[in-house]
Amino acid sequence: MTGPPEAALVERAQDGDTAAFEALVRLHQGAVYRIALRTLLDEGDAADAAQEAFLTAWRNLPELREPAAFPAWLHRIAARRALNVLRARRPEHPGDEEAVALPDPGAGPAQHSVTGGLREALLAALAGLPPPQRACWVLRELEGLGYREIAEITDSTPTAVRGRIHRARTRLVEALEPWR
């Protein structure tokens, strides 16, 4: 790649350069969408949350002091946005567990059906977790964030985050018991 380095793009975008911001969106859309999808487990909601996260980033970009911190800062915005959507929709959809869009089970070759079943079982078990537990587990185990960072995203403390991840892990292991 021959374009300017990311820090230069961030600084240009901070000055209001929309072309530089578009380059940043292209670079980071995969990660932002992935964080939203894993938290929300719904493609449409994840796309909406990703869009909102990028718009929040665009509005708040002038306040970012360290351009090199842009990716982590953007991922925090995406995670927070996804968690807020999750919290907001939860009470209205008590049947959330069943509403999870699962991939077509007939899509893969037959020899993959066991692994496919395990993956879908994990998704279903994740959908059944309370929102903060699900978000904490996803951010820690799938995105590799630290306890302190997750605490900041979820307006919580590192100790509470540790507890949520522990409880999430216990429930997920129990749910996957038939695949042992």
Binding site: P4, E11, G16, F21, Y33, R59, T159, V173
Partner: protein, 179 residues
């Protein structure tokens, strides 16, 4: 809300917190101790199915919808930030003004033609002696900073004269990634 976990994490008889063992199992990075210790191995075994399922999910790279970039950028452009007018000295009597975003795009493009540097910030100001330009630049090659600063200054001065009709009173360049 009561936090039902003690602040001191629970520990196995060998002294290792089980959460740590579970995490290492999921990442496939058990420590030397965890590989040999029966307590740790029992915890890892208990989490084995979750580790397998989690690793599979963590390795997936779902593709964002193709329309995402376009719809983000439409919304961004509709919220474009206010643009300032920067007065520049015009040849002959009177003064003229340019939109800051347009002037900046022009100057940054001139800098992009200089190999070995990438300009980030580009701020324009109407100083007491005329147009003042402040740039931040990143080194992208092996050309030493002082030499690059000279080339960038020349490129900016030429672009300002030819396209904005202004002779900059001041050009400040800061290299941001030099210790």
């Amino acid at each position: 809300m009561a936090v039902d976990r003690p602040s001191e994490p629970e520990r196995l008889p060998c002294g290792t917190p089980p959460d740590e063992v579970a995490e290492h199992a999921l990442r496939g990075t058990p420590t030397e101790h965890e590989r040999g210790c029966p307590h740790c191995r029992a915890v890892a075994e208990y989490h084995r199915v979750l580790a397998r399922a989690g690793a599979e999910l963590a390795a997936e790279r779902p593709e964002p919808p193709p329309a995402l970039v376009g719809s983000v950028m439409r919304a961004v452009r509709s919220q474009a930030r206010p643009d300032r007018l920067i007065p520049v000295a015009a040849p002959g009597p009177g003064r003229t003004a340019v939109r800051e975003s347009a002037a900046r795009a022009l100057l940054v493009a001139a800098c992009d033609a200089v190999p070995g540097a990438a300009v980030g910030r580009c701020r324009l100001a109407d100083g007491p002696d005329g147009l003042e330009i402040a740039l931040s630049a990143h080194l992208t090659g092996t050309v030493p900073a002082p030499e690059l600063a000279g080339r960038l200054r020349t490129a900016v001065r030429t672009a300002a004269r030819e396209s904005l009709g202004a002779d900059p009173a001041r050009i400040d360049i800061v290299f941001t990634d030099i210790d």
